[in-house]
Symmetry: C4
Subunit: 405 residues, 4 copies
């Protein structure tokens, strides 16, 4: 069974779940692969630079706004290595001046203590002066000052951020909805906590990135609010358990390719190019290459940075900007501290599994696929090549670790 | 290969198994996911209430009629937490006055002893006075008195139940068939043990829920017997091994969506809305959300309740109302006692895997998907997004428990 | 991509492997499931009897002609329990008078010694008098005397078998081909070792069952040779590694449904009904039910019988009638001795995984599906419901053995 | 969704990843299986010989040009056993006279030391005299002297090779592109390091094999450069991690069937038959059979040879001709030393998993499928029969190793 939408791009593939429900077949990174087309390049010819909100960035890699990934202390080294670090403004850095002690406590807590400890830690209120100080500290390190906050406190903190010299603001929530417009008309709406994204963007002196979103139609409407970029992805990350808890999640390859179509359509209508950033679900260099091949302009990754020696997580990685007091979803993962930020991004890689030298991997992939630029990389051929665990693969894997036979 | 049925709803997807057999492609919860549509709600705006058989229930969660899940002792706490507890009338509670000693024996038995112990325990006959006492005890706890019995003894025990003040009767068998009508015409049929469901319903002073069923046509006919609700699902539960033993089983997403279509059709024909209840195969909050998104009005779950501190199973969960003396199918699972009934349903959750705070998970999912009510939740977009164990996911999973690399 | 064959039955589903190769999508038991249709029966109404070669058998279960499954000693108990035992005539029973000592050696050998031990054991020639004695012994036990031999020595041993009073002869080879006709025309063909199946059948006083085969066209032609039954299946068994070694293997559901179509077509043309027997790949009761639902009249199983206390394998099971001296394919599996032959076939089952009480499982499945007879069971609805190992199932499985969380 | 390409061969199957990206469904060896067609042969009638570059080879098996697979010392024994050994000219054999000491160091290094050790080892320059000596040594052993080098140093070393008496030259790089023509026109192009494959072939006195490639159009153009064979495959090998690191990889069944179509088309246009060689991803005999059934004329395998007692790897196998200094992709696998080269190719097999007696397996498969020659083997029926790890298979597998129940 197949229903055709031809307004933009390709048809969708529909199946019948049952008589009362049809569903579209979607795809994740594990199901796709990239195909060389007979043109290859020398790696020196590959240019990974892109622009977002007027900033020129030499790699498309963004470190997630998570407490275990970016702190005011490692934003500098991330920036020196040509990635963009985004600080989570609802986390411990804006609640505690002595945030390093808090990080020590989290790292030292047992699995059983963790959830209640986090609940306690996040009861401490956010403080304006710590927001100000965090931005100043990042600026002082020479890095681009990028921060993320939730829609409900964006209006309140934006002036402080601008005063401190912020360069770019991410407004990020699990699922950004179009209802942010409609809710404001409610009588009891508090104008300070409900965000009119159009108004918010128009009042800012710095670019605003909005997310997260997975849908073509939603993306198309959000692009018309004055934002400078859109974050794509719901629930695919290593530290995110939305699909189990809420039943919600859209595989990344499909999400990106849909929102890319919205970008193309919006550009056709307005001449404005709004970059789309794949957020979450990318663990290795190959995933980053696939995200861009599906249409992403940039990628936002958490767990790879959490594994660096400079990461604030002390070998741990945990999800969600602010843990829910009653429904914890992001889990804590022990990721270890495997390499420096420099090695993560530019190598040399110690391991051969794609977890290190991410920029080198992207450039090598581009060279192999004949893509000079990120834009050309977005046009390479994608195939469906399920990476399912077959008997053969289990055997090969067992061989690798010396267990087969 | 595809054959089209357009009487109701969508086409079916057929494939050729071989020249002499075609088969429809069906879907389970693990293969689907839910998609936000750009409208989000504050969680306080989400209403999970529904009606069945004249009862107003504030959550769609029903505790299964299994000995390890509901006893006369924990029905009260389940009810206080806004779920409906259904007592199994063919189990130990109506065979033994000292059922707690029996539960101790079951918990203490080894894996080898278990099957024969169960065979022995269930040889004790059911006693009318224990049925009466069980209903009275549940009523006294302030709970809705809901009980389940098999078709063959429904006529016999119904008057006792009504006398004791039962509120709702579930008539439940692995597969309820339309032949319950035709069998009665047999000469040697014992009117007391063979159930004419239409007659049975018409003679009752309380609503009757019937099950289980997975088929559109069967559902449509059963809805015309006077029942107040229909249970959907064959063999998907954690404690059920029907597919291995009998080769029988229909994935839940398809079963629900098919029976939902029957509900819609029956409502169109008669104006009567017969709620459909997904029964079995839901282990986490996300599964409950998916069941409702496929069309379920309510969900019946066993193993999550078996894990509560108030559960009669003492950390164990076992299947089947009455174990077969020769062909055991339900297995016994050690599930532990992880949380209180209150924490199971309303949190706070200790773990982040969706196994706790089920009502909170449902409301959060509804809020994220923009569904104000259960009816709106039934209309959200479903996608096919296989949750197969890929190499990437195995890696992520290994990372979570600190084993990767 | 889809190509249509409408001569008989349903279309095939074709996909493109690449520009130079198309392939049909085929299905195994793990991918299908059976669906109740709203008619259920009391188990006493289910009749599992069938006829083959003039024999009336009360269950469709046949014990494989493998040394670890059937010996002259346990054929009697298998027969008493209403299954058909087939003795392998190329195995140790016709090479050694003291075959029990040989069985002891096999059971005592280490994994490293096994392959060379088997090579040595099978160098001993087959002896006419041992063939004669084996058949006599089986007859004396009151069992139907069924034996299996390979095409190349069928002509040689058939007269001895008939003299000894054999009841039915299986001529079995991995893949039976139509070329058995054409080869005979070769000048150097040895008439005693090359089998003309038509001639062979016409000369026999007892029915001949031929196999194995998976293809519609081959089945159609083989049915016209005078055989009384056809064995279906290549390489699906637990002790068979053909797919890994040779790349060859056809999933059972598709094989059966294709050969069933040949049976239907041949019956239409000639009025003769040639039973088809599914051989291999069935580990539990559910698999047997699925085989019949795909069209099988009988099922031939090895490993379940190898697990019985009366089995000759002493807790081991090994494949292939005669191991190849240079290319071993059948492996040896330690299966244990879990139950008696009676428990295997008629229960009571000790475990709930479908591995015991196979006849009880078949009857319960037939009752649940409303099938009075094997013929009605062949008409039940089959669905595609992949039993792939999803994350959810891994979790449920872990729960069962008490490992989850 | 499906788009049709009818120029050559069958249609492609396309799906929609999302609105902005469509993708073709591709297939690997684990997803396919081979089907007997009713004609079987005696194994003695099966001829596995083929021709490439004027050489007559009696088996289609080629040992990969990897340091752990082929050395100047074991090329002889590989040749004696009728396989073709290809020496890697960029590896340690042309950098070190005392290469055996280097091999000892690699085998003795820990997992942590391995990557940096390899980096150091490969900094030693390649020496002309060692190239010369290696070819001479292979010739002296009586073997066909086949060597592999990268495009960038092919022009430089080819004259030395011809002087030493090389028989066949493989020019091999991860992805061979058509741009080797266009790059030469660049002003700063160094004629000695940039390979014009057409010119290179025309200047050679020996046949040239080129690779690797996966695409129909690329294959068609490369076949017109004067090469004598084409290597097919990107990233499928056991020691290759391209898909994880770069996101790149095309499943072998599809790659072969596509390039086979190019071969057919090129032959139709020119009358020249350019053999295609499947390279990588084949672990067992069944994989080799499938590769040929998809259209391969020969197969190049690494890890099976690395497990032989004569292999230079000392029980280890590692990928890539020359490890990248910054982005290691090929991993090191401990494969053990299980059998002799003779046993690997011609048996007798010790194990029954298809890892030994590869020529015997191929011949047995051909006999079972009725294929007299490699060309007939290329025409056998292929089916899609997913070898996914289902619950049933996990159970069977557990049984094999005595773990089930």
């Amino acid at each position: 069974m197949s229903e055709i939408y031809t307004e933009t791009g390709f048809e969708y593939d529909y199946v019948s779940i049952g008589r009362a429900k049809k569903a579209r077949r979607t795809y994740g990174f594990d199901e796709i692969s990239l195909v060389p087309n007979g043109n290859t390049l020398e790696i020196e010819l590959c240019d990974t630079s892109w622009q977002i909100g007027g900033l020129n960035l030499s790699t498309p890699i963004i470190a997630s706004a998570m407490d275990s990934v970016v702190s005011p202390d490692n934003a500098g080294v991330i920036s020196e290595n040509h990635a963009l670090a985004v600080l989570n403004l609802q986390g411990i850095y804006t609640r505690y001046e002595n945030y390093n002690e808090i990080l020590d406590q989290i790292a030292a807590s047992s699995r059983e203590e963790y959830v209640s400890l986090m609940r306690k830690i996040y009861q401490e209120p956010i403080k304006d002066e710590l927001i100000y100080a965090a931005v100043k500290k990042i600026k002082a390190s020479g890095a681009v000052a990028a921060v993320a906050l939730a829609p409900f406190n964006a209006n309140r903190y934006a002036p402080i951020l601008e005063e401190a010299g912020v360069d770019i603001i991410f407004v990020q929530v699990t699922v950004v909805g179009l209802e942010h417009h409609s809710l404001e008309s409610k009588a009891n709406a508090n104008p300070e906590t409900i965000l009119d994204i159009k108004k918010f963007c128009s009042e800012r002196s710095v670019p605003v990135i909005l997310g997260n979103c997975t849908d073509y139609n939603v993306a198309l409407k959000l692009m018309d609010t004055g934002i400078s970029g859109l974050l794509i992805g719901i629930g695919p990350g290593a530290a995110c358990t939305s699909r189990g808890v809420l039943g919600i999640g859209v595989p990344m390859a499909t999400s990106i390719a849909d929102c890319k179509a919205a970008q193309i359509e919006y550009f056709k209508q307005t001449g404005k190019y709004i970059p789309v950033i794949a957020d979450g679900g990318m663990a290795v260099g190959g995933d980053i290459c696939k995200a861009i091949a599906c249409g992403a302009d940039g990628v936002m990754i958490g767990s790879p940075f959490a594994r660096t020696k400079e990461a604030p997580g002390r070998g741990f990685h945990w999800g969600m900007a602010t843990p829910s007091p009653v429904l914890p979803r992001g889990t804590r993962i022990q990721v270890g501290t495997e390499c420096t930020t420099k090695e993560l991004l530019h190598g040399p890689a110690i391991y051969d599994d794609g977890s290190q030298n991410l920029v080198g991997a992207l450039k090598t992939s581009m060279a192999t696929l004949g893509a000079h630029t990120i834009k050309e990389m977005q046009e390479v051929e994608v195939i469906v090549a399920p990476g399912i665990l077959t008997e053969g693969k289990v055997y090969q894997r067992a061989q690798k670790i010396g267990m087969a036979r």
